[in-house]
């Protein structure tokens, strides 16, 4: 649809063709493109006519008769418009589009008809502030930046976000009052523009209605029980599902009663483990195997030096207290709680143990 406001442009038909150049042919130790005739000037002997030549015609010169506009079926256009209007009434879609409507009292936002009579931009700003729409305009202000690309030297220098649309019924000054506020668009209900209701193709623009504009919607687009009065033979599109709440549908009795029970525990392929390598599996198959294994191990270790003496064993035993194990387990938890549990645990043990646990706590805190 955006293509429809394009203006035709083209390259001059004569561009690059206003020479009588001819190729020099072979045997002259130059490339075979047509070259300009004559002499006495820079231009003589230069290549001409090709898109690769300097001063030549471009590849596929642009023609005015390019198809600039696109015809879209009326029904499709109306369907799109109506969908965009519907989306503007869903707060999550408006938020997702990027408008800040957290301070707006209600969506859809409908103001009294007095809005249509205001003449000063100052009043317009005051209204937007009061209604909670100003934060969206502040977003527009924040988004002003220079356009990327050549457009900046073609009188399209700044770009900014789109703010709210004001949709009115009768313009008694609204348009002029609101039009200088950045980001704001004005639309008459009779002539709604999809390009303004779903900018960039994204539905859910923030819409501010006036009362009479909102009331006119029924007559313009119809309700499902009544056809549109203003448009010939148009009614709102029928939804594909009358009840689109999938969650409730799936939990409904009519569906649940026909389903089989859910398979909560899937029987999956079991990996076969080798009992000769896996001691656990071996013991399950042959309980005596564990005993056998232990005996062989002890026999092998008999008389060998392993490094653990009776004293070192006793010392390790002593270190494995409840408190030290608990401290290891609780490391990283809420600091406040840990000190409490430590003191309570420590109080029940001997004094030597409490000091060791307290130092371990201190080291973790740092």
């Amino acid at each position: 649809m955006r293509r429809n406001k394009r203006q035709a442009h083209a390259v001059s038909t004569k561009a690059g063709e206003q020479t009588s150049a001819e190729s020099w042919g072979t045997g002259r130790a130059v490339a075979r493109i047509p070259r300009v005739r004559g002499g006495g000037t820079h231009r003589s002997g230069q290549g001409a006519f090709g898109n690769m030549c300097r001063g030549g015609r471009m590849y596929a010169p642009l023609k005015v008769w390019r198809k600039w506009h696109r015809k879209i079926n009326l029904k499709q256009r109306r369907y799109a418009l109506v969908s965009a209007l519907a989306a503007s009434g869903v707060p999550s879609l408006v938020l997702a589009r990027g408008h800040s409507i957290e301070t707006v009292p209600e969506i859809p936002l409908v103001l009294s008809d007095k809005v249509q009579d205001i003449k000063k931009t100052k009043e317009a700003v005051a209204i937007l502030r009061k209604v909670g729409a100003w934060s969206d305009i502040l977003k527009v202000y924040a988004s002003k930046h220079t356009r990327a690309g050549v457009g900046k030297m073609r009188n399209r220098r700044t770009v900014m976000k789109r703010g709210p649309v004001i949709i009115y019924d009768k313009d008694n000054g609204v348009k002029k009052a609101f039009r200088n506020i950045p980001g704001v668009s004005l639309l008459s209900v009779e002539r709604l523009n999809l390009l303004r209701l779903a900018p960039g193709g994204h539905v859910g623009r923030f819409v501010i209605w006036t009362e009479s504009a909102f009331k006119k919607l029924d007559a313009l687009y119809g309700t499902w029980s009544k056809k549109s009065q203003e448009k010939v033979d148009f009614n709102l599109p029928q939804p594909i599902m009358t009840n689109s709440d999938l969650g409730r549908l799936l939990k409904a009795f009519e569906i649940q009663s026909v389903l089989r029970a859910p398979i909560k525990r899937q029987a999956r392929r079991k990996v076969k483990k080798n009992p000769l390598k896996n001691i656990g599996l071996m013991s399950r198959l042959n309980p005596y195997a564990a005993v056998q294994k232990r005996q062989t191990l002890l026999r092998q270790l008999k008389g060998r030096r392993t490094g653990t003496t009776a004293e070192s064993k006793a010392a390790a035993r002593k270190e494995r207290t409840h408190a030290s194990l608990k401290a290891k387990r609780l490391s990283g938890v809420n600091m406040v709680k840990k000190s409490k549990t430590q003191t309570s645990a420590g109080s029940t043990k001997t004094t030597t143990v409490t000091t060791t646990t307290k130092t371990s706590v201190a080291s973790k805190k740092s």
Partner: protein, 161 residues
């Protein structure tokens, strides 16, 4: 055929609109994330989305202060953004904050599937606050550990206000 009014904007329909194009969507190499306010894991999934569902749970940091802001969605005021959220400031110690969140969700049966996510988020945010406080008091550069969750929650906090 005459049909009555259809309530068409169910959360599933909205999800189909939002799931691939939303101002909060961030598609990057490290995965798809969303920055909407009440998304507990910032994941772009139907379950965790903060915009679509009538019942919604959100946890954010309190700006310039201690504690956590626990948000629940008011189902009655779905279309009234001003009244949509009930926010509670939980600024006592973490044990009380977490039990408060846990109990609200459990006793009201309010989005039980989000309970663990809410607790984890709150716990991570509180941890971040604790570490930040420890960093300022001890003034040692090595202690400034910033968890990724707290930074994303701060951006969430600024957009919601």
């Amino acid at each position: 055929m005459v049909r009555g009014r259809f309530e068409q904007a169910s959360s599933h329909v909205q999800w189909m609109v939002i799931r691939n194009s939303s101002s909060f969507l961030h598609k990057r190499k490290l995965g798809t994330l969303t920055t909407e306010a009440n998304n507990l894991k910032n994941r772009n999934t139907f379950r965790f989305n903060g915009l679509i569902h009538p019942k919604v749970v959100g946890v954010q940091t309190v700006k310039d202060g201690k504690g956590v802001l626990f948000t629940t969605g008011n189902v009655k005021n779905l279309k009234k953004p001003l009244k949509r959220f009930r926010q509670v400031k939980l600024s006592k110690d973490s044990r009380r904050t977490l039990t408060s969140i846990r109990r609200t969700i459990r006793k009201q049966r309010y989005r039980k599937d989000l309970k663990m996510a809410a607790l984890r988020r709150a716990s991570a945010l509180l941890r971040g606050q604790r570490l930040a406080a420890a960093a300022t008091t001890s003034t040692s550069a090595t202690n400034t550990k910033r968890s990724g969750k707290s930074t994303t929650s701060n951006t969430g906090a600024t957009t919601s206000s």
